[in-house]
Each structure stands twice: as structure tokens, then as C-alpha cells.
Amino acid sequence: MIDLRLNHRQGDFHLNVNLSLPAVGITGLIGRSGSGKSTLFSCLAGHLKPRQGCISLSGRPLFNSTLGLNVPPAQRRIGVVFQDGLLFPHMSVERNLAYGSQNRGTVFWHEVIEALDLTHLLNARPLRLSGGERQRVAIARSLMAEPELLLLDEPVSALDPALKARTLDLIARVQRQTQIPMIYISHAPEEIRRLCHQVVTLQDGQVRSVTEGEAHGVGPKLAAVGQVICAR
């Protein structure tokens, strides 16, 4: 389970969230701009320290204001994929992928590269990549670090419609194969209902609804990916 009890104030904005989500499949987090999606994203990833509350992931406490606990992002095992990929521009694609990976050259490494169709891009520099390619590398880079949870912050919003659809399919496939739970943040509900197993709607810093998404069930794991994930 992903347990979130957060109370955070930033100027006039007040985030007050009390959520328990199953750590399986893809959870959509939707809401207009200013609804608190990004603040929640930052609190979960550990990039922002909430004023009050607690966060735990599969029973592992990540933040607890009463106990003074705040696990740093590097130890949270929560991967992040930003809107524009945000690859390290001074490193090749391969070095980007290896940055958080302990598995360079292993079966898992090759599985992820193959699943995201990156073999021909390994030596390229991020500035030479198209928007879709950048996002594929960013997703792969996060997966290589074997996160327990992957946060995707509007990863397709900058892509054209055709590429958007392909990337969404890819995300769904990668989730089925790796079984890594994902939280997909978006301001466009139509974009993610199809993709998500459950959808949380935020409004003015509060949870307005938690509904079931259109995606059901979980697909088979890739054998190699499953082994590595289970072995950790």
C-alpha cells in the first residue's frame, strides 16, 4: 500500500490529503493546475518536506513529522520521470541509463533497453533525441534503478497525439512487464483513464474522488525482470 497523510501549506495553497492506495498497477492522479498534483509528487519523491503527516510505501515509513523521519530521495526507491524527460545533457544515453543502475550489462539491463527500444540510441546525446525518445530513455533510466514505485509527471504532455498514444501504450506494457506500481500525474483525464487501474482526482489541495480506471488486471511479467525485482 501507498499510505499518504499529508498536510502542507505553501502561501495561500493548502494540501490536505489522506489516501491509501494499493501499490499495484497504474494510479492516475489528475486535477487542474494548482490542484496539488505537483506538491504531492514532490512530497512523495522526497523533494519537498511536508509540514505535517506521514508517508509510507509497502509498510516502509518514508516520512513522519511526529517522529522527525524524512528519508532522503536517494533512499526512497521512488523513481521519477518528468514532463520533459530531463536527461543529463552531458551524458550519453547509456550513461544516463547506468546512472542509478546496479545492473549494467545484466539480463535485466538488456531487457529494459529492448522493451523500450533503445539499443540504437545508446551512444546518442540527449540533445539529439526526439521528445518521444527522450521520454523512453527517462522511463528506462528510472526502471534501471529498480524503484519500488515510479512517479510519472505528465510524461506525454509535450508529445504530438500519435506519439502520445504510442508512449502511453508503452508505459502500460512496461508496467505489466515489470509490475512496478506507477503513479501517473496528468491534468488531462481523458489521457489516462484508459491507462490507469484507479484514478485519484485532486481539487484545491484535497482528494475529490477515487474511482476505478479503465485498465484491469495485470499482465504476465517478463521472466528476467520479474526475477531481478523479486530478488531485491
Binding site: 532522503p72 530521495p73 536517494a74 533512499q75 530531463l86 543529463f88 542509478g100
Partner: protein
């Protein structure tokens, strides 16, 4: 070389040596301060920024005199150094290096701060979320991305140090063969009868050195901006 007298030659060599040493000594501090000023926000940020940039706007002679008060034989720092260790700073080559470092420092910090400000803070966050420690984030992400600013700062500070006059003459004096740098040698020959040819020679040398450093700085800036345009 170029018809330079031994004194002029030694002034040129001293200028190059002192300026190089000055920028190299100042570099780690400038990187640290440039990063702190560019990335961190804290009470007193503006004050620290103003203090760092003070040498840019203070008359160099004032700067030299303040340094003399600090580093002279009876100075706040220079006094104990001389009494306890027998170390003399004022009117030595070390004084030339310090004067050059102080005047070039704000130019370095400024260039580095600007390049630190231009780095998307989410890159560091992405690195942290990939398991990197703060130290690893700094050395593998922040520092390489600040490199263009560091190189620009280095060349600008070097050019400024080569041309340094007021602080140097106040703190280090104008001792031929010991603390006489290129600008001081130029000043000396302009004060001597029949020194026109030597003055012109040293003037051209100064122009070549400063111009070369500026061209290098421009080339670095241009190369960097070209790299930042997505292909």
C-alpha cells in the same frame, strides 16, 4: 624575445605566473561560492553577493590598501603569520598572487553563479531519486553543467589579473624582478625618459594577452550556447 629587456621579460613571466596561480588558487572557492549563490537561498544571500562583488566596484588602490592592512607585517593576519612563522606576505610574489586573485575573484564567481542558476534544479532531483548522494549529484551533474561558466570565469579572471595594477602596487610594491608585473613595468617605463619604445612593446603585449583571453572566453560562451540548442 620580441626585443624585451631582461626586466620586461621577468615582468611578463611574473604576470603570467602570478595570474595563473591566482586563478587556480581562487577557483575552488569561486566554484563553491558561485554554486551557493546560484542555487541556494538563505538569509544574507544579497549581502554575501554584494560583498563578493565589492572588488569589482572598489578602486583597486583601496582594495590594495585594505589587503595591506590585513596582510602587512603588522596586519590582522600578516602580523601573527610573521610573528609565529616568520612568514612575510606584503611586498613578495605571494602578495602579487593575492592581489590578482582578489580582483579576479568576483568575475569568476559571477560567471560560475550564472551557469549554476541556468541549471534546471530538477536535474539534481532526478539524480537524487536515482540514488545519488549529494556529493555525487554535485560532482557528476552540477559541476559538469557549470563547466562553461567555470571556463569563462577562469579566462575573464585571468585577463583581469594580467592587467591588475592598483592593488598590486599597493600590496606588493613595484620591485623589478620580484613584484614588478607587466602593467607595473609599463607604468615604470612611461615615467622614464626615452621609455616610449619599451612602453609600446609592453602595451602591445598587454593587448595581446588580454585580447586573447577575451577571445577565448567568447569562443567558450559561443560553443556552449550552440550546444544548448536542441538538434
Amino acid at each position: 624575445m620580441f626585443g624585451l629587456s631582461p626586466t620586461e621579460m621577468s615582468a611578463l613571466v611574473l604576470s603570467l605566473r602570478a595570474s595563473s596561480l591566482a586563478v587556480l588558487w581562487a577557483l575552488p572557492f569561486a566554484i563553491g561560492l558561485g554554486w551557493v549563490l546560484g542555487v541556494k537561498r538563505f538569509p544574507g544571500h544579497g549581502l554575501l553577493n554584494a560583498f563578493v562583488h565589492l572588488p569589482l566596484v572598489l578602486p583597486p588602490v583601496v582594495l590594495g590598501y585594505l589587503l595591506l592592512l590585513l596582510l602587512g607585517r603588522k596586519g590582522l593576519i600578516g602580523g601573527p603569520l610573521y610573528d609565529l612563522l616568520g612568514l612575510r606576505i606584503a611586498f613578495t610574489e605571494s602578495a602579487v598572487v593575492i592581489a590578482c586573485a582578489v580582483v579576479g575573484f568576483p568575475l569568476m564567481v559571477r560567471a560560475i553563479r550564472q551557469s549554476a542558476e541556468a541549471i534546471d534544479p530538477r536535474l539534481a532531483r532526478a539524480a537524487r531519486s536515482l540514488g545519488a548522494s549529494e556529493l555525487r549529484v554535485f560532482f557528476t551533474v552540477t559541476l559538469p553543467l557549470m563547466a562553461p561558466g567555470i571556463l569563462t570565469g577562469l579566462t575573464l579572471a585571468f585577463a583581469r589579473a594580467v592587467g591588475e595594477f592598483g592593488a598590486t602596487i599597493t600590496l606588493a610594491g613595484n620591485i623589478p624582478g620580484k613584484t614588478q608585473t607587466l602593467p607595473l613595468a609599463l607604468f615604470t617605463v612611461t615615467q622614464s625618459p626615452g621609455g616610449d619604445a619599451a612602453a609600446l612593446r609592453l602595451c602591445i603585449l598587454s593587448l595581446v594577452l588580454a585580447g586573447g583571453a577575451l577571445l577565448a572566453s567568447e569562443a567558450i560562451a559561443r560553443r556552449t550556447s550552440l550546444q544548448e540548442v536542441p538538434a
